[in-house]
Point group: C2
Chain length 69, copies 2
DNA sequence: TTGTGACTAAAAGTCCGTT
DNA sequence: CAACGGACTTTTAGTCACA
């Protein structure tokens, strides 16, 4: 199974909420589509490294922390 | 210049060499084409989370370590 | 043993919406 | 505010012959 999708979904949602951001807020900061954040949090797709980096930057965290259990 | 593609390329090559594996050996273990490993090490594409996990499993390491600086 | 261009198939990612 | 759908474009996945 895709454990990493679950880990990412959980980490992302936690970090996003901690910063008081909506999916749309984060999408704006990361310059990705609004629906895309939703897809990740629902584990519907296998995000690319480039997008992972964009989102990590928007959240001000190191990218690897997004997929660290 | 330490974007995720570069970090992954370096970590992957280092881990692979440490285990004395050729690109072809690793490809076999990870069940991907040999040239695909070559593409990653040359930073040609932004690999997906699923593929990252597949390769991490083949190397017996946690996936996040592949993209940790 | 690895790098590379060329190519098709598949999946990511966007943009319009509605519930 | 978030889940979700459809239709679309862009990028990755995957493979080959050859250098």
């Amino acid at each position: 199974m895709s454990d990493l999708r679950t880990i990412l979904a959980e980490n992302l949602r936690r970090l996003r909420k901690d910063k008081g951001l909506s999916q749309e807020d984060l999408a704006g900061l990361a310059e990705v589509d609004r629906t895309y954040i939703s897809l990740i949090e629902r584990k519907r797709n296998s995000i690319s490294l480039d997008k992972l980096e964009q989102i990590a930057t928007a959240l001000n965290v190191e990218a690897y922390l997004l997929i660290k259990p």
